[in-house]
């Protein structure tokens, strides 16, 4: 197990509230309480009230993926993107070594993209990449490499960013292959890596990647859909998947659910 995955596993355990040990200390208690209160507000449909509570939880544990994930969901519901951007800006300034805080900072920009104008979208996408890169500099995790690699694919070909996506996604797939057993969330990297090859004019490599992915994840509909298409049909399908005007699924829950 890599250091990154070990850290992730620890976080997941924490986030699931399964190990509120004494060692977690006061900060951990504060985080858990704030998180629980935030989730109660969400359950009551009061997403606006949940925002400061999630922020308290994250202030206590900046690397908490689960709190950050739920926070961003509430932000999307309330469209309080600029508040969240300001929050993560401050959080990462206070905790520059918090790799997952940087990752979620990047995701916050991505979450805003569908609600922004076409030129602002470019600026937001670029800011997201900057923060994903900071996260990777701190820790080369599967989720960060997949995220940045996948982000590159949304950029029009003219900007030449797809080859950078290939590199990140190959690294993400390599990390996932070190796992003793495939995790369902890892299928995303196989799909994206195929898309990256396709966007860099390597259609055969794309198909073989999707086929290889399908061996590991035989029920995956997205892989099947790509393999069932060719030529213009496939192009239309992929561009449709990578449409920046559509909301990108940035929900990280599959990392700790459905394993």
């Amino acid at each position: 197990m890599t250091e990154g995955l070990r850290r992730l596993a620890i976080l997941l355990v924490l986030a699931a509230g399964l190990a509120m040990s004494e060692a977690a200390g006061a900060a951990g208690v504060a985080r858990a309480t704030a998180y629980e209160d935030a989730m109660k507000a969400v359950a009551a449909g009061n997403h606006a009230a949940a925002l400061p509570l999630f922020e308290s939880a994250l202030a206590a544990d900046p690397d908490d993926l689960k709190s950050a994930n739920e926070y961003r969901k509430a932000v999307i519901r309330t469209k309080e993107y600029d508040r969240a951007i300001a929050f993560f800006d401050k959080l990462t300034a206070q905790h520059p070594q918090a790799a997952y805080a940087w990752l979620n900072f990047g995701y916050t920009y991505v979450d805003k993209i569908p609600d922004a104008g076409s030129i602002t979208q470019v600026i937001l996408a670029n800011n997201a990449l900057t923060n994903f890169s900071k996260s990777i500099e701190l820790k080369k995790t599967w989720i960060a490499l997949f995220t940045r690699g996948n982000s590159y694919l949304y950029w029009p070909k003219i900007f030449g960013r797809a080859p950078l996506g290939v590199a990140d996604l190959e690294a993400a797939v390599a990390i996932s292959q070190k796992e003793p057993k495939p995790r369902s969330v890892h299928v995303r990297a196989w799909i994206a890596l195929g898309d990256a090859y396709w966007k860099t004019e390597q259609p055969e490599k794309a198909k073989s990647t999707w086929r290889e992915g399908l061996k590991l994840f035989p029920n995956n509909l997205e892989l099947k859909a790509r393999l069932a298409r060719d030529g213009d049909d496939l192009e239309k399908y992929i561009y449709d998947q990578l449409d920046p005007n559509k909301r990108v699924d940035t929900n990280l829950a599959p990392l700790w659910e459905g394993e």
């Binding site: 922004a116 104008g117 030129i119 602002t120 470019v122 600026i123 003219i158 900007f159 449409d243």
Partner: protein
């Protein structure tokens, strides 16, 4: 939720569609082909446009931001029964062109440039840039006058009726500086005199002598530091040739719009007999203003359009594309590899709201859009659409990656000319094929520019539609930035019937701008409104053109004049396949 509502609306409209009910002219037509041939050079109408060449440190960037100015205005200025053309140029010292149509005189379509003799060639100098032109009868004397919009002060030429024009701009009070890119004439207060609405791109600073370089958009999706619009009320005394205008922008409630206006359009959007406005703005939201019928407008953008947009509005044209009796609005935006905005085809729901059906109808993508005009090119009774596109076709290098570096630079000041990289000989959304959308009458359009022969890849700007050879088929004049213009003669085969109406107002403004003709035929109702210059950089003919399909007779024709008079023409048998003149209060006069 909005998507679901839109799908439901489309389903409902389809059920109600005249085409689905198989009524009206060519309801489900075995469509004859649409064909055009380009004859600009052969008939003396091919004109080279030159954008203004700025001088100094920021010449390159300012040139990039002002790459319009190639405009056309269609109008019968000499009253001889054929449509003439006024075609603009924009660089210092370059003359504009008044192309007199010789059809009536010789029986053959041909144009002669008489701008110099007429006294209307000027307007471009070191400090001003011609950007748009408009024929309108400012003093209701039956001789169309000529308005030239400029980055500078406008020029109003009074038509003396003898082939000559007199510059009356100063006497008329049109002395206010503006960076105007669009102008329309319409009678906003229904007092029988044509008023002027200017669409202004930059705020009113002289770009040629910049005191401060912070003149560019303060936001690329939501800019509020543009020139907005200026409304001028025509206060010319009845019967006088002493044309006078006074500015009423603030009084009319239009001063709060401070966007980067690229086009303005008018039409009666709520069927109350008063002209409403749609303003297309670059770098931010368009605006829809409803006429309060008391000399003011109210901003209905949010409730009518469902919110504010962030797109790059370039063009406004209006027509009832689905024949439901309500004018719809077509706006072009930018859709390219790097920017996926999609155009807007605002379907008028008839209840004060509009729904964008551009995706559903197949009219979403016209690349880097400029002008787009509705017109029934195949005379089947359904309004088709022609759209031009393309920003800058130059060298092989693409400006977009260079521009990206600026856009993503942290803290960059977009307003500062100095922040923008020079474009040099780079291309930017160039070599784009034009689009011709045939209206299938089923809430769907089919793109067929190549088949029709109009898929040129020039850097299009304006469109002027008119029946230049009086054969009942709509022809197209296309202007292009820094390139030659094109004239497409409609040579579509087929035997579809048509009629054209030239309306003359008496109590209403003489051009009858704002008059609505409602034609009933075979159970279908077709409406057309006379407009005073809708569409970016192009004024089409004021004659109303109806395609009738296979119908050789019409059931009824009604004219609703801006004065409020509604005239129903009882004798309509002789109108088919003819150009007919109708005078307010007198019926058919020619």
């Amino acid at each position: 939720m909005r998507g679901v509502r839109r799908a439901l609306l489309v389903a409902l409209l389809l059920l109600q569609s005249p085409a689905v009910r198989a009524q009206g002219p060519s309801a489900s037509p075995p469509s004859p082909p649409i064909r055009f041939e380009e004859i600009g050079a052969a008939v003396g109408a091919r004109m080279q446009h030159h954008t203004h060449k700025f001088k100094g440190k920021y010449a390159d960037v300012l040139g990039m931001f002002t790459s319009g100015g190639a405009a056309v205005a269609v109008g019968d200025y000499d009253g001889d029964g054929d449509e003439d053309l006024f075609v603009t140029d924009s660089d210092a010292g370059r003359p504009n062109h008044l192309l007199r149509n010789q059809l009536a005189e010789t029986g053959k379509l041909g144009f002669v440039d008489v701008a110099k003799e007429a006294g209307v060639a000027g307007g471009n100098d070191e400090r001003t840039i011609v950007s748009d032109a408009l024929w309108f009868d400012a003093d209701n004397d039956g001789h169309p006058d000529l308005l030239i919009a400029r980055f500078g002060t406008p020029i109003l030429y009074r038509n003396l009726g003898n082939g000559k024009f007199e510059d009356v701009s100063v006497k008329a009070g049109l002395t206010k500086f503006g960076n105007s890119i669009a102008v329309i004439a319409f009678d906003y207060d229904n007092d029988g005199r044509l008023d002027l609405l200017f669409g202004n791109y930059f705020k009113p600073v002289n770009l040629i002598d910049l005191p401060d370089t912070h003149v560019l958009p303060n936001n690329l999706d939501d800019a509020v530091n543009g020139g907005g619009v200026t409304l001028w009320r025509n206060v010319t005394a009845p019967g006088s040739h002493d044309i006078r205008f006074v500015e009423v922008t603030e009084k009319a409630g239009l001063a709060k719009h401070t966007g980067w206006t690229l086009d303005v359009g008018h039409g009666d959007l709520n069927n109350d007999g008063w002209q409403d406005l749609y303003i297309a703005a670059d770098y931010g939201t368009d605006r829809l203003f409803i006429n309060n019928r008391d000399g003011t407008f109210r901003d209905a953008t949010k409730e009518a359009l469902g919110g504010l947009d962030t797109k790059k509005g370039m063009n406004v044209d209006m027509a009832d594309f689905d024949r439901d009796g309500w004018l719809d609005v077509y706006v072009t935006n930018i859709t390219d590899e790097y920017m996926k905005e999609c155009n807007m085809l605002w379907h008028n729901n008839g209840d004060g709201t509009f729904t964008d059906l551009s995706k559903e109808t197949g009219t979403c993508n016209t690349l880097w859009g400029w002008a787009a005009k509705f017109g029934d090119f195949d005379n089947d009774g359904w309004e088709d659409l022609f759209a031009v596109d393309g920003l800058r076709s130059a060298g092989k290098e693409n400006y977009i990656p260079v521009l990206l570096e600026m856009i993503i630079k942290p803290g960059v000041d977009f307003t500062d000319v100095a922040s923008w990289p020079a474009i040099g000989n780079m291309s930017w959304s160039g070599l784009q094929k034009k689009k011709l959308f045939r209206n299938l009458g089923t809430l769907a359009f089919k793109e067929m520019a190549a088949e029709a022969g109009v898929d040129n890849d020039r850097d299009g700007r304006g469109i002027g539609l008119g029946d230049f050879d009086n054969d009942g088929r709509l022809d197209i004049y296309q202007t292009n930035a820094d390139q030659e213009s094109l004239l497409y003669r409609n040579v579509s085969p087929g035997t579809a019937h048509w009629l054209e109406l030239k309306l003359i107002g008496t109590k209403s403004n003489r051009d009858a701008i704002g008059a609505r003709a409602t034609l009933k035929i075979g159970g279908a109702t077709l409406i057309r409104e006379v407009n005073g210059g809708n569409g970016y950089a192009g004024q089409s003919s004021k004659r109303l053109h109806f395609g009738l399909g296979t119908a050789a007779k019409i059931d009824s024709l009604e004219i609703r004049w801006p004065s409020g008079l509604v005239e129903k023409l009882e004798t309509v048998s002789g109108l088919v396949d003819h150009i007919t003149t109708i005078k307010e209060g007198s019926g058919v006069v020619k």
